[in-house]
């Protein structure tokens, strides 16, 4: 007999919170063991060059140095990559960006390792550099890998755009640009690699996707997967960012550990982290829409170029999501979308929260407001007119057969803040130094990996004989609360309180390969697996209970730490007694759960398919005050409405709402990792500006719950959708305030005030972008350098 949930939907404390408030939580750098060495990477000094010679002799002779390694010392595969294996663990004969590692040192102290790496001599033959993705497309551009810099082309085709544009009353054509963004996890990358008995290696570190990192370590060291153990330390944030950069750190530390036979610790400084780690892709986006005077859309032609940087990384997947979602959740019969990724000598770009959606959403939602403006409607009206409903056919030809709550999130968000009234009032406000504006943006987002690849995950629920419970899973926690959600689900199924549950940090040797913890799949995949695991144990416990009490299994239930008679609620034994009884009867107290996602499909050539098994819907509204004399934008109010399916833990869901919005506001207004001639301009938080407590306003959250059959208790996703539409909401608000649109992110002071960016010279004074681009000024700049 069903009874109301006791844990699901309630705001439980996080299972890992206590250690984090007392300082006992162990993050990667907090691990140290006796006789450990310190590993250090010597990185490239040229963004693109052939390596003529590496001389490690002097470094190796320094007292306290135990190993100096180059690519020649790697016994197995020297390069890795999820899709294209072209990222060298240590440069082979060429460096392709300034973050490339050239050699490794292991020494008794950090200081000796640093001194030794400075003694390594590397002779380079510089090659021409390409730092602009549009330049990289040209036939005569320097080639980074092979003979073509374009390494990804995804297309989506629907209807006939020629016909669509012919039917249009007008055409809107706009060009948008976005920037590199640093993940800015506050914990820099770190690992401890220890040689194990039996010829293996154990790595404890700040790794997001343990199983893919393990594959690369095993391949580099020519070890079987069962000899490489990666344990996730408590992770100080990731946001998609501790994947390949950690794979290379794991490989390097493991190489040094195996070579020296000693534990090796490696820690990036913040500067090393900025220099080496991958970023969010900058996009150039050309949007061309055909519209009717009634506000409907007859054709969309979209072309996006993503700067992939020096290596392929996740670009093929990131850009695929962009292609699938490039039209936004809007009806249009005729669509032609092309998304390209190209190599340059910049930092490589990969996964970051949103994964290809924040870029296109900025363009789509700006276009939607341009369309509204053209036909004289307000931004809410135009979205309600064009937005998807249940049964809609997406640009990729997928029928949406779930609750499509786009209009629900839009209207609830608008109602919360009085959107339409404010929008009209601000639009007609007289000129002044400070002007207010309000903007709206919405999105739909495919849940989990979709047709990117195999999508399954496992979890283990192990009840101890005293009634305490251990949960472990292949899905990892990086601060988003996955451990807590999975613990809640296990506790709900077993009818026990949360304080009985201990969650183990993920260990690749203890749980099955569950794919990466990405794509907002933690709750829907890991949660489903944990539910299956707990249900397996529950069956065993109930069978033991039936034998113990002589009552039929279907009359028994587990509630509030007791075995109860399901009809009367009478308590028959404690959960602890039942666990001990189950053990005495020789019945298993251990449950393994596996969850595989429903089928998806994709046809590359036709550019269509059932891309994702379900979608989520969200709307954000930003209210801003623009200082028209300085260009400064203050966000004074913000509404975030998202359909999460079902909130497993109300508090952690709200945490995602707030944190996602803050990161989105940073994307919209502040953050920019600038690269000029393949040289990064910011290497720490003094110049790379993150939103502080003074920049993020109070956020009004609206949790919408339309339970989805695809997720545990109806739950779907929340991590990424909350991050992907704050920037366009702000940009639309700036337009409402000033009547001027910003086409490049971030909308910092100069872009808002002047309509374009300023660039810094090497001596750090600002110059106008246009003059900086001409050949004469480039020459001057170089000669000064």
């Amino acid at each position: 007999m069903p009874h109301p949930h006791t844990i699901i939907g309630k705001p439980a404390r996080r299972v890992d919170a206590l250690g984090k408030v007392t300082g006992t939580a162990k993050f990667a750098e907090d691990y140290s063991v006796a006789h450990q060495l310190f590993g250090k990477v010597l990185r490239a000094t040229q963004p693109h060059a052939r390596i003529l010679r590496i001389d490690t002799l002097k470094a190796a002779q320094l007292d306290g140095v135990e190993a100096v390694l180059t690519a020649d010392d790697i016994p197995g595969e020297k390069a890795f990559g999820i899709v294209i294996k072209n990222q060298a663990i240590l440069a082979l004969d060429r460096v392709r960006y300034l973050g490339d590692g050239v050699a490794l040192v292991a020494a008794r102290t950090k200081e000796i390792a640093e001194r030794a790496s400075a003694l390594i001599e590397v002779e380079y033959d510089p090659l021409s550099v390409v730092s602009d993705p549009e330049e990289a497309l040209k036939p005569d551009a320097p080639k980074i890998h092979g003979d073509d810099n374009t390494f990804v082309h995804h297309k989506v085709r629907k209807g006939d755009i020629t016909k669509g544009f012919a039917e249009a009353d007008f055409i809107i054509e706009r060009r948008f640009k976005t920037q590199f963004v640093e993940h800015s996890y506050i914990e820099p990358e770190a690992v401890l690699a220890e040689p194990l008995e039996h010829g293996g290696v154990r790595i404890t570190g700040s790794v997001q996707n343990l199983f893919s990192s393990r594959r690369s370590v095993a391949a580099a060291l020519t070890l079987d997967l069962n000899k490489v153990q990666i344990i996730q330390s408590t992770l100080g944030g990731s946001f998609g960012g501790k994947d390949e950069v950690m794979t290379s750190m794991c490989c390097r530390a493991a190489l040094l550990a195996m070579r020296t036979g000693k534990p090796v610790k490696m820690v990036n400084t913040r500067e090393e982290s900025f220099l080496e780690s991958y970023k969010r892709h900058p996009y150039v986006m050309e949007y061309r829409w055909g519209g009717k005077n009634d506000g409907s859309i007859t054709a969309m032609e979209i072309r996006c170029i993503a700067d992939g940087g020096a290596y392929a990384s996740m670009s093929p997947f990131v850009t695929w999501r962009s292609a699938v979602q490039a039209t936004g959740p809007y009806y249009c019969e005729n669509v032609k979308t092309d998304v390209y990724a190209v190599y340059t000598n910049n930092n490589y770009t990969g996964a970051m929260r949103g994964f290809g959606s924040p870029q296109v959403n900025f363009a789509i939602e700006s276009m939607m407001d341009e369309l509204a403006e053209r036909v004289g409607k307000d931004p809410l009206e135009i979205r309600l007119q064009n937005g998807f409903e249940r049964g809609a056919l997406t640009a990729t030809g997928q029928r949406l057969n779930h609750t499509v709550s786009l209009k629900e999130v839009l209207t609830r968000a608008a109602h919360e803040i009085g959107f339409q009234e404010k929008w009209s009032r601000y639009r007609n406000a007289p000129d002044g130094a400070k002007k207010r504006g309000i903007g709206i943006a919405c999105s739909y987002r495919g849940v989990s990996l979709g047709a990117e690849g195999a999508d399954a995950a496992g979890a283990i629920v192990s009840v101890q004989t005293d009634g305490s419970v251990i949960v472990s899973a292949g899905i990892t926690d990086m601060g988003q609360g996955a451990q807590t959600q999975m613990s809640q689900i296990a506790a709900e199924v077993l009818g026990i309180s949360m304080d009985r549950v201990q969650f183990l940090n993920t260990n690749t040797s203890g749980v099955p390969d569950s794919g990466p913890t990405v794509a907002s799949r933690g709750t829907i995949m890991g949660g489903s697996a944990a539910k299956n695991a707990a249900e397996t144990v529950r069956v065993s416990l109930i069978a033991a209970a039936s034998e113990m009490t002589g009552l039929p299994a279907d009359t028994l239930d587990l509630r509030e730490d007791y075995l109860v008679d399901a009809s009367t609620g009478e308590r028959l034994s404690t959960f602890s007694e039942l666990a001990a009884e189950c053990f005495r009867q020789g019945k298993p107290l251990y449950g393994f759960g596996w969850h595989k996602s429903p089928k998806t499909s994709w046809h590359d050539e036709e550019g269509r398919g059932e891309a994702y098994f379900t979608f989520v819907y969200g709307a954000n509204i930003a209210e801003v005050e623009v200082d028209t004399e300085t260009g400064k934008v203050d966000v004074i109010d913000f509404v975030s409405a998202h359909d999460v399916g079902k909130a497993i833990n109300r508090n952690t869901v709200l945490g995602q709402f707030y944190g996602g919005a803050a990161m989105g506001l940073g994307y919209g207004l502040l953050e920019e990792f600038e690269i000029e001639d393949a040289r990064p301009k910011q290497l720490n938080f003094d110049e790379y500006l993150l939103p502080t407590s003074m920049d993020v306003p109070r956020i009004h959250p609206i949790i919408v719950e339309n339970e989805d059959a695809a997720g545990p208790y109806g739950a779907k996703s929340v991590g990424e959708p909350t991050n992907e539409i704050a920037a366009p909401a702000v940009v639309n608000a700036i337009f409402n305030a000033t009547g001027k649109r910003v086409f490049e992110l971030p909308a910092n002071l100069e872009r808002v005030l002047l309509g374009h960016a300023l660039r810094r010279t090497s001596d750090r004074g600002a110059v106008l972008k246009d003059s900086a681009n001409d050949a004469e000024s480039c020459k001057t700049r170089r000669s000064r350098e």
Binding site: V21, T22, D30, Y185, G655, Y658, L690, S693
Partner: protein, 163 residues
Amino acid sequence: MTRVTVKTTINHRKYELAPDPNQTLLDILREELGLTGTKRGCEIGQCGACTVLIDGRAANSCLVLAPQIDGKEILTVEGLASDGRLHPLQESFMDHDAVHCGFCTPGMLMSAKDLLDHAPHPSEEEIRVGISGNLCRCTGYVQIVDAIHDAAERLGKKERIEN
């Protein structure tokens, strides 16, 4: 390098240390004393992850050199709970889900303690100013601000009961 002698109190315990003069307080805590609760984030005083209290005031321990702590009282996150009881800030951070990845948490708690010790009834604006030197990438600060508010109330109640 000539080592210096430093007498200091850390988490209510007296220490006589002989660090290199160019060692930072952060290094002393983490590497010499094994107090790894204080975090290394940027090492240039921008992120606030290494915040501790020096004579009751919040400071970035990455910017404090060993000789500067001579004769001072240092409090780190490990010393925040007393007599086996969590500080109300620690309780309220857990209750409000103000702890996500937890890496900024120790520094955030120490800045918040400085604030509440000197302004027991802070406004939201004062709280925001008080933690503006501590970067958090996970929470958007909302739940942290709420937690500090709540801790101020809990401390106020405690005070009334004790009086």
